[in-house]
C-alpha cells in the first residue's frame, strides 16, 4: 500500500526567506539558453484551488507561480534579498503607516486587458487580507490601498506595520489576480481559481484530473525574450518511487521538492544524464521540532525538557535520517537565515549521563524495570523523515528511561489529535520557516491561540515574558531593533524549551542535464521559471 499522498511541499505554506548568499550557485553546464521545448515535471499532488492569492502554499505556487505573479520575488543578490516583479520599487513612510509601490508599465493580463494599480488594490483588500491563509495575519491592519494613478499603489495601515515584515512577505503573499475577473460573484467560487489568469510567463492551458496540468508560453510576457520554454507539463505521479523511475526512463525531466526520496539520491546521481541539485530552496526551510504538551506534569518541568534535549543526538539525526541533506538546529530560527539567526543561545550537547542526572534531579527516579515514566509520541506523517525521527526519538528516550509509545495517524487524524484534541505528550512536527519570525516560528511559542489552529502552540505553553517579546517585535518599526528582539526571542526559547528544535532541511531537485537555469533564486521551485530552458 503506498502511503497517502499528502504533498510534502503542500503541507506548509509559502515562505519568503531572503538569503543574501555571497555567491550565485553555478549549476549546470555552460550552455547558451535555447528557445522552445516542453519541460515535463513530476507533481505529487493536485491542489483543489490554484489561486495563489487565496492559498499561499508551496503546493499551489509550484504550478501557479508560473501563471500568476507577485509584486516581488526573492533573489540571491538583490537589494534586501528581493528582485522586482510586478512592482518596480517599494518605499515606506516614516510613520510606518503606509507603503508605496511603483508598478511595472506595459504589463498585460493573459486575456489582453492591461494590469493596473486597481488590480493590486483589489487583490490586497478583497483577497489577501480577508481570505488568504497567511495574508490574514500580515495584512490584518491594512485599511485602504490608494491608487493615485495606474502605476502607483499606496498601502495604508491602521497601525504601524514593520516594513521588514512586509518586504519579507512579498515573494509568497503578494500574488496579484485580475480585478475584472474576480469582481463578479463569490471570490471563493470563481472559475479562475481552477484555471488561473495572471500576468506570468506561462498561461494555464489544460488540466486533466489525475493526469497532468499543461501551461503554455505567454507570447506577450513583459520579460524580454522570455520565457524560453514553449510548454510546462506537470505529470501527476502519486507514488513516491515513480518519480525516480520516470526520470531514468526519460519520461520526465525534472523532479522538484524531493520527489525522489533521499535514499535513492546516491543511486540516481550516478545515472548518466541526471543531476542532483540541492540549491534553490534556501527560502523554503523546514524545521524538525519536538512539540511538547506542557499540560503533562513531567513535561512542564524544565529539567525534564532539558534532559530530552540532551538525549537527542542531532548529528546522528542529520547523518542517518537526512543522509547529510540537513543541518543541526540550535533554536527556533534556522542557521541559513541571513537576517535573524543568532548562534548565541544555550545549547544541549548529546549527553546521556547528564540527561539521566537531570531526570533524577527532577525527581523521576527509575523504577525497578528501569523506566521513569511513559509518554505518547505522535510523529507527523507528512514526511518520511518525521516518521523516521519518531522511531529514533523513541529509542533515544528509552536510553534515559522514558518509555514512549508511538501513535501513527494519517495527516487529517494527526492534525486533529495534536492541534485540536491535544491528545499527545510529544509530537514530531515539520513547521516551515517563512523568512520572518512574525509569520512563522513565533506562533509555536506564543500563548492564547485558539484550539484547532494547525502548526501553532497547542501544547499549553504560557510564558508572559516571551509573549511580551513577541508582541513588542510585531510593532517595532526599526529593522535593527526588531532584529535584536528576535535574537532575544531565540535565546529565551532555547533556554526555556517550549519546544525542541532538532534539525533544519530543504528540498532537493533531480533533473536531466539538459534543463538549464535551475536553482537561480532561493525559492526557485515556486518562482516563475521565465528563464528556464531545455538545451539540445
Amino acid at each position: 500500500m503506498s502511503e497517502l499522498t499528502i504533498s510534502r511541499r503542500g503541507l506548509l505554506a509559502g515562505s519568503a526567506l531572503l538569503l543574501a548568499s555571497t555567491a550565485l550557485p553555478t549549476i549546470g553546464l555552460a550552455q547558451t539558453p535555447k528557445k522552445g521545448g516542453r519541460l515535463i515535471v513530476a507533481a505529487d499532488s493536485e491542489p483543489r484551488n490554484l489561486n495563489p492569492a487565496i492559498v499561499a502554499s508551496n503546493g499551489v505556487f509550484f504550478i501557479s507561480s508560473k501563471i500568476v505573479e507577485t509584486l516581488a520575488e526573492a533573489a540571491f543578490d538583490g537589494k534586501e534579498g528581493l528582485q522586482p516583479r510586478l512592482a518596480l520599487s517599494w518605499e515606506r513612510a516614516a510613520d510606518g503607516l503606509s507603503v508605496t509601490f511603483k508598478l511595472r508599465d506595459g504589463v498585460k493580463w493573459h486575456d489582453g486587458k492591461p494590469f493596473t494599480s486597481a488590480d493590486v488594490a483589489f487583490s490586497a483588500l478583497q483577497i489577501w487580507k480577508p481570505l488568504q491563509n497567511l495574508g490574514r495575519t500580515v495584512f490584518k491592519d491594512l485599511e485602504a490601498v490608494d491608487t493615485p494613478d495606474d502605476l502607483t499603489a499606496i498601502f495604508k495601515f491602521a497601525k504601524p506595520t514593520p516594513f521588514q515584515l512586509i518586504r519579507n512577505a512579498l515573494p509568497a503573499l503578494s500574488s496579484v489576480v485580475p480585478k475584472h475577473l474576480y469582481e463578479v460573484g463569490k471570490i471563493e467560487e470563481n472559475p479562475a481559481n481552477n484555471a488561473p489568469v495572471g500576468t506570468g510567463p506561462f498561461k494555464f492551458a489544460e488540466y486533466k484530473a489525475g493526469q497532468y496540468y499543461r501551461l503554455t508560453r505567454n507570447d506577450a510576457y513583459w520579460g524580454k525574450d522570455e520565457p524560453y520554454l514553449d510548454e510546462i507539463v506537470y505529470q501527476v505521479l502519486p507514488d513516491r518511487t515513480s518519480a525516480a523511475a520516470a526520470l531514468e526512463a526519460e519520461e520526465i525531466q525534472l523532479a522538484a521538492f524531493s520527489a525522489v526520496p533521499l535514499a535513492d539520491l546516491d543511486r540516481i546521481s550516478k545515472v548518466p544524464g541526471l543531476k542532483v541539485i540541492t540549491k534553490g530552496y534556501e527560502g523554503l526551510t523546514y524545521q524538525l521540532v519536538v512539540e511538547i504538551n506542557h499540560r503533562r506534569k513531567e513535561l512542564a518541568d524544565l529539567k525534564v525538557r532539558q534532559a530530552i534535549a540532551h538525549a537527542i543526538d542531532k548529528d546522528f539525526v542529520v547523518k542517518t535520517i537526512f543522509l547529510g541533506y540537513a543541518a543541526t538546529a540550535t533554536g527556533p530560527v534556522p542557521k541559513n537565515d541571513p537576517q535573524f539567526y543568532t548562534a548565541d543561545v544555550p545549547t544541549y550537547p548529546f549527553d546521556i549521563a547528564k540527561a539521566n542526572a537531570l531526570l533524577d534531579e527532577a525527581g523521576y527516579k527509575r523504577a525497578d524495570d528501569g523506566k521513569r515514566f511513559a509518554l505518547k509520541l505522535l510523529p507527523a506523517p507528512y514526511f518520511n523523515e518525521t516518521k523516521q525521527f519518531g522511531d529514533y526519538l523513541r529509542q533515544a528516550l528509552a536510553a534515559i528511561g522514558i518509555d514512549a509509545e508511538i501513535v501513527n495517524n494519517d495527516s487529517a487524524a494527526h492534525i486533529k489529535a495534536v492541534y485540536t484534541d491535544h491528545a499527545f505528550d510529544l509530537a514530531v512536527g515539520p513547521p516551515v520557516f517563512r523568512g520572518d519570525p512574525a509569520i512563522s516560528t513565533t506562533i509555536l511559542v506564543q500563548s492564547g491561540i485558539p484550539d484547532g489552529v494547525p502548526f501553532s502552540n497547542q501544547g499549553g505553553y504560557k510564558n508572559a515574558e516571551l509573549d511580551a517579546l513577541i508582541a513588542k517585535a510585531s510593532e517595532t518599526l526599526d529593522t535593527a531593533a526588531r532584529t535584536e528582539l528576535y535574537k532575544e526571542f531565540q535565546k529565551k526559547v532555547a533556554a526555556d524549551l517550549p519546544l525542541i528544535n532538532v534539525a533544519e532541511w530543504s528540498f532537493i531537485s533531480v533533473a536531466r542535464e539538459t534543463v538549464g537555469n535551475i536553482a537561480n533564486n532561493p525559492r526557485w521551485a515556486v518562482s516563475n521559471w521565465a528563464d528556464t530552458y531545455l538545451a539540445g
Binding site: M1, S2, L4, T5, I6, S7, G10, L11, L12, R38, I40, R48, N49, V55, S57, G59, N133, L134, R136, T137, E188, E206, K208, A209, G210, Q211, Y212, R214, E231, V233, Q235, V236, L237, P238, D239, T241, S242, A245, A246, E248, A249, E251, Y382, N409, D410, S411, A412, A413, H414, I415, K416, A417, T420, D421, I449, P450, G452, V453, P454, F455
Partner: protein
C-alpha cells in the same frame, strides 16, 4: 427466460437494501475516523481560527452528523451524489470521468486472470500430479504471495526503465492530442503493465480452483463411464471434466470483482492511473465523505451488477439454478 427474469427481480429488490446499508455503514465509519475535511485541507495550507471556522461553515461541516447523513440521503433520493469539497466539483462528474479507466483496467485484468488462469488450470488439471501440474501450482502460488505494488514496481523497473519497451505509468501519453485508433493503441500500451500486475496476482486463484475442480471430477463415476465408452481423452478433458470444474470459477468471478476494485487502489497509485481506486484513496485522505460514499455506491452497484450477470451465466450453464422457484 422467465427463470432469469425472476432472478433479476429478486436481486434488484435485495440490492436496494444492500446499497442503503453500505451507504449508512460507510458514512458512520468515515465519521468515526479522527479529523474532518477541513483538518485534511489545512495540512497543506495552515490558517488561523477564523479561516478554519469559515471553511467548516462553507463546507457544511458545522452541522451535526445526523443532519448531514439525512441531507445526503435526501439528495441521493433525487439521484444527486453531492459536491466534493476536496475537488470543488460535482461528485457525479468526478466519478464518471474516472469510472471508464477503472472498468477497462479491471475488465482487462479480470479477463487476463480468468482466461489465462482457467486455461493453465485445465492444462494442469488434465493430468493431476504430473510435473507440469506441480510446476504451475507452485509458480502461481508464488505469484499470489507477491504484494501487488511490489510486482508493479518490478515490472516498471524491468520493462519501463531498463528495457524501455513500455511506458512507466499513466493511462495515455500526456498532452499528446492523439485521437481515434492511435489513441486506443496508446491506451492499450499503457495498460499492459498495470493489467499484468493486477491480473497475474489473481491468476493463481482461478488456476488452482480449476485444477482442484478437475482433479475432483476425474474421480467421478460419469468420467469413468465416459472413459469406458471410449471417448477421446481430449473430449473428456474439455466437455466433461473442465465444464464441471468451471461452475465454481464463475462464482469466484463474481466475488473477485469486488476484490479487484480493492487491488486497483494500489495498482492505480503505482502506475499513476487516474481511476476510481486512487480517487477513493484521495477521498479517505481528504476526509471527503460524500465523495467516498459516491465511489462506494458506484462500486457497490458495479459489484451487484456483475454478480447478477454471474447468476445469469450460472443459470445458463447449470439448468438446476432457479428452477426450484418455478413452483413457488
Amino acid at each position: 427466460m422467465t427463470r432469469a427474469l425472476r432472478l433479476l427481480r429478486r436481486r434488484v429488490v435485495g440490492s436496494v437494501f444492500v446499497l442503503l446499508i453500505v451507504v449508512i455503514g460507510s458514512f458512520l465509519l468515515l465519521e468515526a475516523a479522527p479529523g474532518d475535511a477541513v483538518d485534511a485541507y489545512i495540512v497543506s495550507t495552515g490558517g488561523d481560527a477564523g479561516m478554519i471556522e469559515l471553511l467548516r461553515h462553507r463546507w457544511g461541516l458545522d452541522q451535526s452528523e445526523l443532519t448531514r447523513l439525512a441531507n445526503y440521503l435526501w439528495a441521493l433520493l433525487h439521484l444527486d451524489l453531492g459536491h466534493s469539497v476536496t475537488f470543488s466539483r460535482p461528485i457525479r462528474e468526478i466519478i464518471f470521468e474516472r469510472l471508464p479507466t477503472t472498468l477497462i483496467l479491471m475488465g482487462s485484468a479480470t479477463a487476463l486472470s480468468f482466461g489465462l488462469g482457467s486455461a493453465l488450470g485445465i492444462y494442469a488439471g488434465a493430468r493431476p500430479g504430473s510435473v507440469r501440474d506441480r510446476f504451475l501450482s507452485i509458480g502461481s502460488l508464488a505469484l499470489y504471495a507477491v504484494p501487488g505494488f511490489w510486482l508493479g514496481l518490478v515490472l516498471i523497473v524491468i520493462f519501463a526503465v531498463d528495457l524501455r519497451w513500455l511506458p512507466i505509468g499513466g493511462i495515455e501519453t500526456i498532452a499528446a492530442g492523439k485521437t481515434g485508433v492511435a489513441r486506443v493503441a496508446d491506451i492499450a500500451i499503457h495498460l499492459v503493465l498495470p493489467v499484468s500486475a493486477l491480473g497475474f496476482i489473481y491468476l493463481a486463484l482461478y488456476l488452482r480452483m480449476m485444477r482442484a475442480g478437475m482433479a475432483e471430477a476425474w474421480r467421478q463415476d460419469f468420467i469413468l463411464a465416459a472413459r469406458a465408452r471410449g471417448l477421446p481423452r481430449r473430449r473428456i478433458v474439455f466437455a466433461h471434466v473442465a465444464r464441471n470444474a468451471l461452475l465454481p470459477l464463475v462464482t469466484m468471478l463474481g466475488l473477485q470483482s469486488a476484490q479487484m476494485l480493492g487491488g486497483s487502489v494500489v495498482i492505480e497509485s503505482v502506475f499513476a492511473v487516474p481511476g476510481l481506486g486512487r480517487l477513493a484513496q484521495e477521498a479517505v485522505a481528504g476526509r471527503d465523505t460524500p465523495l467516498l460514499l459516491g465511489i462506494i455506491l458506484v462500486s457497490a452497484v458495479l459489484v451487484v451488477v456483475i454478480n447478477l450477470l454471474v447468476d445469469l451465466a450460472y443459470a445458463v450453464l447449470d439448468p438446476r439454478v432457479g428452477a426450484g422457484e418455478a413452483s413457488a
